[in-house]
Assembly symmetry: C2
Homo-oligomer: 391 residues x 2
DNA sequence: CTGAAAGCGCTTACAG
DNA sequence: CTGAAAGCGCTTACAG
């Protein structure tokens, strides 16, 4: 009964209750091609026909099948997003920006959480490729990452943010971690600290290794030894960091300051300090990276190197869309940007101890380095400029 | 050149560099149907043939096209996840569990962030339907939600968690918010508070309205008036709540305790208290809902009604898979579960003020209600039992 | 401006 | 156990 002038399309099974383009065509008295044309807003469709088709669409509550469209067009309007841990506010905030920006451009995002496990990374990348996503955004690559390396090699649209490959290949947007860490260490040195602990992330991540490098460089520049007993792994997790900090704080000569590889770990360090009856910052200075929202809370007031999380996420998507448009171009000349860090001085570093004790928790004081920070009311101003941009 | 015994499949365009099932078939000297069979682990394939095919697959680095498979099978192995705000740790933690559980069962998750906007909700649901996702998990429905209501009506696989519809229809798993709020209020009353403020979420959400109801009920039961000046909207956001709290705290007769509709807002209340020079809990008791991770931090120590976030997320997926298997069954008899809340007493409510001041921040004291809480070392034990389960 | 037809890359009765 | 064929629901040259 349902077959019209169209070529037979087979009977509809029980599972297929949704009207198809054929149903619309029949009802509007046109071909499926024409329906497709009005659906896709082709220019040359007779107004009358267009209206008829639209009426039929509405009458049938027709909803075009994106799966079929994806197959025909060979594009899915889907992006993969691979993060290490969505419960880390850094990733949650970037993910939010990514999802929102993608939506604004007609893309959806498949969320993948790897927990920094190579196995899951590999599995997710494989699945995303099978799903023919138009591109993959990595918030979490490993320094040595054959999987991502292969993707880049194959010219698969990829954008990394936060972390990058050791090889330096591919499109990425990252913080200038070495400088950030150098400046943060310098900040502590300027405050008089000479025994500064460092709790790192995982060894195989660019963020961890670059931040460790900046820390060492700053110590060296200050003529201080890089004491390996002061460096402990914290896996970018609060609990791990808490334990690591406890060990550091039980050393015969305990550090007077601890830098954590990210804010989450800095929170863990603060816990550890409390566990041992040490006051922050009077007995121990604590600093981190990321400037997650809670860092600004008045009970926390964490001094930290800020990252422009929303901006990074937005940018990753904008780049991705460009790359999808012309993959070969960006294979030759990858998009790479290194963002200038902004130091946000709050209470935990102790900088405010002597002067203003009012708890003006978001003041951003001038930085020791060549780039001046900014102070502001309420939300601290963050004005990073890009130091190095390759396009 | 590439055409074999198979029906002509047309030339490969530049975009299609990926090998197809036809390429594998040709190489292995079998039909495409046979390749499909070994791909899908059909029982009756001659071992020799199976090996040949597998070899060909490996040689060509063949990756089955999930899009094509989805079209043919009429199932996408994809779930939609609709949350209000992925940067709220409550959603991040549930999302994490959802993504991970789904992955374990061969499903991927499209993340949708609505910001509690009807417009975005509607848009996302429409897109998810066009994408033919196998089901949608809602962490965020509105009390009156024609969009979700229509989905449920149509028998589209849906699971709600955290919030539910006013109509009570559909599958859901939520906290017993009214009891939770009642008990939390009662807890404050038992501590001697008689003037308790309440900062609610958005009006059109079951969480907000049920929690407000519990609060009022507890006041009434204590013979206290429900003073509308003490109730302010906070939109489930820290910043809004901070402002709302400031207003409350400037009232001629200011509240001695403030309940926030969730932990994020409770953090905002603590900020407000600090802004006005009030100490928590000495001058102001503060409590919330959710027990997000930071609530346990020693600088925060927020008393709160815990939710089993990971468990909720896991359960939502497990249910979803069952529903996908037999949608009609659960249309008749929806899966509905109401979880018993667990009160986690920490510092901000002031309960520890007189007795133990050691900062034993996670002790869970017996609750005033009929259900006893539990105390534990380190992580507070949470042992909610289900009061009501319908299947 | 519009339709017929081929194609996207799979799966799955249907035969044999 | 395996292949030929039809089908999933779209899009898009190709004609006219």
């Amino acid at each position: 009964m349902r077959r019209g002038r169209q070529p037979a399309r087979g009977p509809r099974t029980a599972k297929t209750l949704q009207p198809t383009i054929g149903d619309v065509a029949r009802r509007a008295g046109v071909s499926r091609a024409t329906v497709s044309r009005v659906l896709n807003e082709y220019p040359h469709v007779r107004p009358q026909v267009r209206t008829d088709v639209q009426r039929a669409i509405r009458a049938l509550r027709y909803r075009p099948d994106q799966v079929a469209r994806s197959l025909a067009r060979r594009e899915t309007k889907t992006l993969g997003l691979v993060v290490a841990d969505i419960t880390n506010p850094f990733y949650a905030e970037t993910a939010r920006a990514i999802v929102e920006t993608a939506r604004g451009h007609g893309y959806n995002v498949i969320l993948c959480n790897t927990d920094n496990l190579h196995r899951l990374q590999e599995e997710y990348v494989e699945v995303l490729r099978q799903r023919r996503v138009d591109g993959i955004i990595f918030g979490s690559v490993f320094l040595d990452d054959p999987v991502v390396e292969a993707l880049v090699e194959a010219g698969y649209p990829c954008v990394m943010y936060n972390r990058r490959l050791r090889s330096g290949r591919g499109n990425y947007i990252v913080l200038d971690n070495a400088s950030a860490s150098h400046d943060l260490t310098r900040h502590l040195l300027d405050l008089g600290h000479r025994h500064i602990g460092f709790i790192t992330g995982l060894r195989d991540l660019s963020t961890a290794s670059e931040r460790l490098r900046g820390y060492r460089a700053a110590l060296r520049a200050a003529g201080l030894p890089a004491d390996s007993r002061l460096m402990r792994p914290g896996a970018f997790k609060a609990e791990m960091a808490q334990r690591a900090a406890q060990e550091l704080l039980k050393l015969p000569r305990r550090p007077t300051a601890i830098m954590a590889g990210n804010d989450l770990m800095a929170l863990g360090v603060m816990q550890a300090a409390g566990d041992l009856g040490l006051r922050v910052p009077e007995d121990l200075a604590v600093v981190g990276f990321d400037d997650i929202e809670i860092a600004a809370h008045r009970q926390i007031q964490l001094t930290t190197m800020a990252q422009q999380k929303a901006e990074m996420g937005r940018m990753a998507v904008v780049w991705m869309l460009e790359i999808i448009r012309d993959p070969r171009r960006y294979r030759r000349e990858p998009l790479q940007q290194i963002l200038t860090p902004t130091l946000v001085v709050r209470r935990t570093c102790g900088a405010l101890l002597r002067g203003d004790k009012s708890g003006d928790r978001r003041a951003t004081v001038p930085r020791p380095g060549r780039r001046a920070g900014r102070s502001g009311e309420g939300k601290a101003l963050r004005v990073p400029s890009s130091r190095k941009e390759k396009r």
